[in-house]
C-alpha cells in the first residue's frame, strides 16, 4: 500500500527583517524607497528538513512545544502556505480544520452557515444535503436552524462548527487544537466522533496540547522540536521519549545557566539556600537573575513564566504584581531575586521563561532559561504525601480548624 502522505524534506524559511535604527523617520522611509539595504535580514527556519510518511487509515499525532513548527507543518500540508523546499505527495482529498467554524458569518442563519462552511471545507452541495439532518442533530440546534448565527450562544456556534466538520468525507483530515474549546461533555462527544472517523479507515493528522487526547486517538506520533523531527513512531514510545528528553535537560543542568542574552547574563535556581534543580513541593525557592543594565533606561520589569513539560504555561508573574519597582542602575551587572517561601507545584518537569521589560515593552525574552524538576514527596512540614494524580498545585494558605 502506498502512503497517503509522503512528506519529503520539507523546510520553511521565514526572513525576518531587522531595522538598524530603532526608529524610522519619514525621511528615512522615503530614502529607503531607493536604497533597499537599510535593514538586516535574518533567516529563521520554522521547519528544517522534515520527512515522514503517513499510511492510509493511520491516525498520527504531532507533538511539540509552542513554536516547534507544528502549525507551520499543518499549513503546508493543507496548502495554505508553500514550503520553501521539499515536496509532499498526497493521495486523497485533504480537509483541514485549523480552526472551527472558518467562514461562519454572524448574519447568516444556522442553515446558511452549514452550507457555506461545508462548501469552504470542500464538501459538495449534494454531500451537505445528504448529511444536513445529521449535522443539525449532532449539533443539537434544530430549534434555531433558521435564526441568525449572531443570536447563538458561543457553545452552540462551536457545536455547529464541529458538527459540519465531523461529516466531511475527505480521505485525509488535518485537525489542529480544535478540541481546546467547548465544554467537557461536548469535548467527549468530539473525541468519540474522531475516534469513529479514524476507525472508518480515513487518515487523520492531529495536533493538540491535550496529551491524553493524543494518547487516546493516535496510534503513532511525530515529535517536533525547533522545526526538526526529534522522534517518530508509536505514540506511547514517543510520549515517553518526549518526557525523557525534558528529563535529560534537567540532568545536564544544575540549576544554574549562563546565557548570552543581550541583557540576561545568568539565571540561577536555588532551593532552601542550595543551588540545585530539584525541588520538593512546599520548599522555598529562589530565582536569581543577573542582568547587564547598561543600556536599559529607567524602569526594569522582570517577568517569569513557569511551563510544564508540554510547554503549557502554568504561572506568569512579574515584579509589578507584587508592588516592587526596579530602576536600572546602568551597570554591567545587577542582580535581582524572586523568592518563594513555599513552592506550589507538584511532581513534574518545568522550565522558566524570563521576560525583561522596560517601559511597557519586552526588550528581551528567553524561552526555557532554566529547567528544573519537582520531586514527588512529602510536603515540607507535613508527614503526608500529596496525591500526584490529583494535585498539580499545592495551595499554602488554607486553614483547617475545628469549630
Amino acid at each position: 500500500m502506498k502512503p497517503a502522505l509522503e512528506i519529503q524534506n520539507i523546510s520553511k524559511l521565514y526572513r525576518i527583517r531587522h531595522e538598524l535604527k530603532p526608529y524610522l523617520s519619514i525621511r528615512d522611509s522615503i530614502s529607503g524607497l531607493f536604497r533597499r539595504n537599510s535593514s538586516v535580514t535574518e533567516d529563521f527556519y520554522a521547519l528544517k528538513d522534515v520527512s515522514f510518511d503517513v499510511m492510509p487509515g493511520d491516525t498520527l499525532g504531532i507533538i511539540g512545544k509552542n513554536g516547534a513548527g507544528k502549525s507551520t507543518l499543518l499549513k503546508i500540508i493543507s496548502r495554505i502556505t508553500p514550503p520553501s523546499s521539499g515536496k509532499i505527495k498526497c493521495r486523497g482529498r485533504i480537509a483541514s480544520l485549523l480552526e472551527v467554524g472558518t467562514g461562519f458569518h454572524p448574519e447568516l442563519s444556522g442553515r446558511e452557515n452549514i452550507y457555506f462552511n461545508g462548501s469552504i471545507l470542500g464538501m459538495k452541495k449534494k454531500e451537505i444535503d445528504k448529511n444536513f439532518d445529521a449535522i443539525v442533530d449532532f449539533a443539537g440546534v434544530e430549534k434555531f436552524i433558521d435564526t441568525p448565527l449572531k443570536h447563538y450562544s458561543s457553545g452552540m456556534q462551536l457545536r455547529l462548527a464541529f458538527a459540519v466538520a465531523a461529516f466531511l468525507e475527505n480521505e485525509i483530515l488535518i485537525i489542529d487544537e480544535v478540541l481546546a474549546v467547548g465544554d467537557a461533555e461536548f469535548q467527549k462527544k468530539c473525541l468519540g466522533k474522531m475516534d469513529e472517523v479514524s476507525k472508518s479507515g480515513r487518515t487523520v493528522l492531529f495536533v493538540s496540547h491535550n496529551i491524553s487526547a493524543i494518547k487516546q486517538l493516535c496510534r503513532s506520533a511525530v515529535i517536533l522540536n525547533q522545526g526538526e523531527i526529534v522522534g517518530k513512531g508509536n505514540t506511547d514510545e514517543c510520549l515517553n521519549q518526549y518526557l525523557i528528553s525534558s528529563e535529560e535537560r534537567i540532568k545536564n543542568s544544575n540549576g544554574e545557566s549562563n546565557l548570552n542574552g543581550k541583557f540576561l547574563k545568568r539565571i540561577q535556581l536555588s532551593s532552601e539556600g542550595n543551588i540545585q534543580n530539584t525541588v520538593t513541593p512546599g520548599e522555598s525557592i529562589s530565582i536569581e537573575l543577573e542582568l547587564n543594565t547598561k543600556e536599559i533606561v529607567g524602569e526594569i520589569i522582570l517577568g517569569l513564566i513557569i511551563r510544564d513539560e508540554y510547554g503549557q504555561a502554568l504561572i506568569g508573574v512579574n515584579n509589578l504584581h507584587y508592588g516592587t519597582n526596579f530602576i536600572s542602575a546602568h551597570t554591567n551587572s545587577e542582580k535581582f531575586q524572586m523568592h518563594l517561601k513555599k513552592f506550589p507545584l507538584n511532581k513534574g518537569h518545568f522550565s522558566i521563561d524570563v521576560h525583561i521589560g522596560s517601559g511597557k515593552k519586552d526588550i528581551e525574552v528567553i524561552r526555557d532559561a532554566v529547567y528544573f524538576s519537582v520531586s514527588p514527596g512529602l510536603i515540607k512540614g507535613s508527614s503526608e504525601r500529596l496525591n500526584d494524580q490529583l494535585n498539580k498545585l499545592f495551595v499554602d494558605e488554607i486553614e483547617f480548624r475545628k469549630l
Partner: protein, 276 residues
Amino acid sequence: MEIKEPIEYEIKSRSGFSLGLRELWDYRELLYFFIWRDIKVRYKQTFLGITWVVLQPLLLMLVFWIVLGDRFGKDLGSIDYRIFMLSGFLLWNIFSSGLNNAGNSMVSNANIIKKIYFPRLIIPVSAIGNAFFDFTIGLFVYITVLIILQTPINLTGVALTVPALILTFTASLGTGSLIAALNVKYRDFRYALPFMIQALMFIAPVFYPLQISTENASILFAFHPMYAPIELFRQHFQDYPIDQTAVMISAGVNLTFLVGGIYIFRKTEHYFADLA
C-alpha cells in the same frame, strides 16, 4: 464509503505558471456559495432589502437628469439623456463595485485564507459576480424605463450587449485581481481605491457624451478599459455613433489588464496567508 483510487497530487515550493482556470472550474460550487453568501449578507437587517438595488440607479438617474439633462441633452440629438445616463451607469456600477469589492476582498476574507485552501481567484471573481447580480436586477429597471420612454431600439446593436458584458467582466477582474494582490502587501490601496475609481469615472463616457470634451481628452478615453464595453452596450440606441479605433484600443488595454492582473495575482497568491 465506496472505494476508489484517491486523487494524487504534489505540494511543492513553486510550480510553473498557469492561470489556474481548470482548478477554478473544479471549485465552481464554492464560487457559487461565495456569491450567494455575499448577496445574502448584504441586505440583512435592512428594511427595503433588495429594493435598494432598484432604487439606487433610479434615484441617481433622476438627480443627474434634473441637474445635467438640459446641458448634455443637446449633444445627444435624438437620444434621451435618461437612457444614456442609465445605460452608462449600469455598466459602470458593475466595474466600480466589482473593482472596489474585489480590491478589498483578499483582506476582508483574510481569516478564511489563513485557514483553508482553495483557488484564491475565487474571491475576487465572486466579488465581481456579485456586481453582476445587481446588474441583472438593474437591467429589468432599465428595460422598463426604455419601454416607458418609448425609446426606438436598433435591434442589431442589441447583440453587442454580449461582448460589452464580457469586456466589463474582464475589466473588473483584471484591475480587481491586481489591486487585490497589491492590497495584501500594501494596505495603502484600500485608501487609494475609492479615489482611483472616482477619477476613472470622470474619464469614462458614463454621465456625459464624448462630444463635449476636447480633442485631447478623447484620446485619453480610448485607453480606459471601460470605454469599449460602455460604447458597445449603447449600440442598441438608434443613431449612436461608434469610434471603432477607440473601441479596439480600449479592448486591447482591457485584455492587457486582465492577463497582467491575473498574472500578478497568481504569482503572489502563495504568500497571501503569510502576509494577510
